[in-house]
């Protein structure tokens, strides 16, 4: 007798039998439920439930929004609508910045390509012992951020110079 046959002829444990019965029952219920959710009646019932819940909650939601807006106005605080409007403007600005960034990158590339090789090559030695290496931001940052990072690293020469002239 093969191992498989021996396995089959073994009496099943009660828990195993219970599990098989359970799975068979669940399978049949699952199939029936798939048919139920596919009916027009189910679509109608869930639609009605959703519509009713929206209709019931709508006046409360509106009242809440109105009173909240009044409170915020009294406190001179921005409302949700104000912040939403501001966020929309931010996205528009971000999009424009992204386009400017891409254009700058293209110009940078074109300028670099137009320059003679000697002009683009880095000098072998710094001209004076005081000369500092060029500020560089981490390469993994997007170009805009690299520029911002480089600006942040740069010493505040201009501001110092301006202050000097004022004096």
């Amino acid at each position: 007798m093969s191992e498989d046959q021996a396995e089959k002829s073994k009496p099943k444990e009660p828990t195993e039998m219970f599990r098989e019965m359970r799975d068979a029952y669940i399978d049949s219920v699952a199939k029936a439920m798939v048919d139920v959710v596919n009916t027009e009646g189910y679509a109608e019932a869930t639609g009605a439930m959703l519509n009713n819940s929206l209709a019931i909650t709508a006046p409360f939601r509106e009242a809440m929004e109105k009173s909240m807006q009044q409170v915020l106005q009294q406190l001179s605080l921005p409302s949700r609508q104000d912040i939403v409007a501001l966020s929309e403007r931010f996205t528009n600005q971000e999009m424009r910045l992204d386009d400017i960034d891409a254009k700058l990158e293209r110009i940078e590339k074109q300028t670099h390509a137009a320059l003679p090789p000697a002009a683009t090559a880095a000098p072998a030695k710094p001209e004076s012992p005081k000369a500092k290496p060029e500020m560089q931001a981490p390469a993994n940052l997007p170009t805009t951020r690299r520029r911002t990072a480089a600006v942040k690293q740069a010493p505040p020469r201009r501001r110092a110079a301006k202050k000097g002239t004022r004096k």
């Binding site: 599990r19 669940i26 596919n38 109608e44 519509n51 949700r80 409007a85 999009m95 992204d98 891409a102």
Partner: protein
């Protein structure tokens, strides 16, 4: 002599199992662990580049952009080490990028397919080209991501898209009998304007409820029974935990895009009829000329196969293939058999077209 099991031991065991299940349902599994860098952002959208593991000279020259659906997190493509499509593709020498749409806020309630396909995608692709230094690219769209990639590919045929892969793409809405979602969202029962007036965006929880209700017993009962029966099997528990983390991490769909999905697609099938207009321009599928691979899940109850078949005859591509895989909507890419069937086929198809 062995002691007979005491009733209190059984209770202790039951208590321990319940605690484990509770922990698995409450805690998030470590997911999306393949190293990547952020290369571009716009509003909530982010473009990531995965660090290549294959030397540059052995890599495919055409980069691959992954675009997932709007209503779930894209880390299903990089679920966990050893079970990650992204990890598989970078190990096969692809330069992989992922476009993550992020979660829309109230300020994004007006975002439409128009904005995603013509504002976000072209800019992300421009950045991809700048970072990779490549003029051509491949794109993989999954579920609603496939709708967006199809619209983009048809409207920007000269942008350098060489290969387009569509996974379980809901594009054809003509067979209403097969589409449970179409029945539920019919204008007789579902008032899309009322829902959007109340919430702004379509809440993730409602989308999740809808998706799970297609197979209620499997999703609300069998799923947990499977875990209960296999609590001692570390492999199954880890896989369940990662999948549950993803399934429960829902995000809303921007109101404008949801309205288009229901009105233009589910109710009126405008894309296939050639009547869908994006920013006033008709989406003409015959303008889509990229090499096309459409992957269909034979057991898909969310996007039945009939929704993804017709695209092959509508596009203008000369190189097109329809690939059927046994499995469900998510299972074909994230299931245990994905690395034996779906992923190798995608690699073989794309590899030959990425040099």
């Amino acid at each position: 002599m062995a002691k007979a099991p005491v009733l209190t031991d059984q209770f202790a065991l039951l208590d321990e199992r319940l605690r484990t299940i509770n922990k698995l349902m409450m805690a998030k599994a470590p997911i999306a662990q393949t190293p990547k860098e952020l290369v571009w952002t716009l509003n909530k959208a982010k473009l990531y580049r995965y660090f290549p593991v294959v030397p540059a000279e052995k890599r495919h020259s055409v980069p691959l952009l992954l675009v997932f659906a709007l209503m779930n997190r894209p880390y299903i493509l990089d679920l966990r080490p050893g079970h990650s499509f992204v990890e598989f593709m970078i190990s096969r020498g692809y330069d992989v990028y992922l476009l993550d749409w992020g979660a829309p806020g109230p300020e994004d309630r007006h975002l439409k397919f128009d904005d995603y396909a013509l504002d976000y995608m072209p800019r992300a692709i421009r950045k991809l080209k700048a970072v990779s230094g490549c003029k051509e690219f491949s794109m993989l769209g999954w579920c609603i991501g496939a709708i967006l990639t199809t619209i983009y590919a048809a409207m920007r045929p000269d942008d350098g898209l060489r290969n387009l892969l569509l996974l379980t793409a809901p594009l054809d809405f003509s067979n209403k009998k097969e589409l449970t979602f179409a029945r539920w969202t019919d204008e007789k029962h579902f008032d899309v304007e009322k829902v959007l007036a109340a919430f702004g965006n379509m809440p993730g929880e409602m989308i999740d409820y809808g998706a799970k209700s297609l197979k209620p017993v499997e999703n609300y009962v069998s799923n947990y029974l499977k875990l209960w029966d296999n609590l001692d099997n570390v492999r199954i528990v880890e896989s369940w935990h990662a999948m549950n983390t993803w399934v429960t991490d829902n995000i809303p769909i921007a109101g404008g895009a949801f309205r288009q999905l229901i009105v233009d697609l589910y109710r009126n099938d405008r894309l296939m009829k050639g009547e869908l207009t994006i920013r006033g321009e008709r989406v003409d599928l015959s303008r889509l000329r990229a090499n096309l691979l459409t992957v269909i899940a034979e057991g898909d109850h969310i996007t039945p196969p009939c929704q993804s078949e017709a695209i092959v005859s509508k596009v203008g591509s000369s190189d097109k293939e329809l690939f059927r895989v046994p499995g469900g909507h998510i299972g074909i890419m994230a299931g245990s058999g994905a690395h034996k069937l779906t992923w190798p086929h995608i690699d073989t198809w794309l590899g030959g077209r990425s040099e």
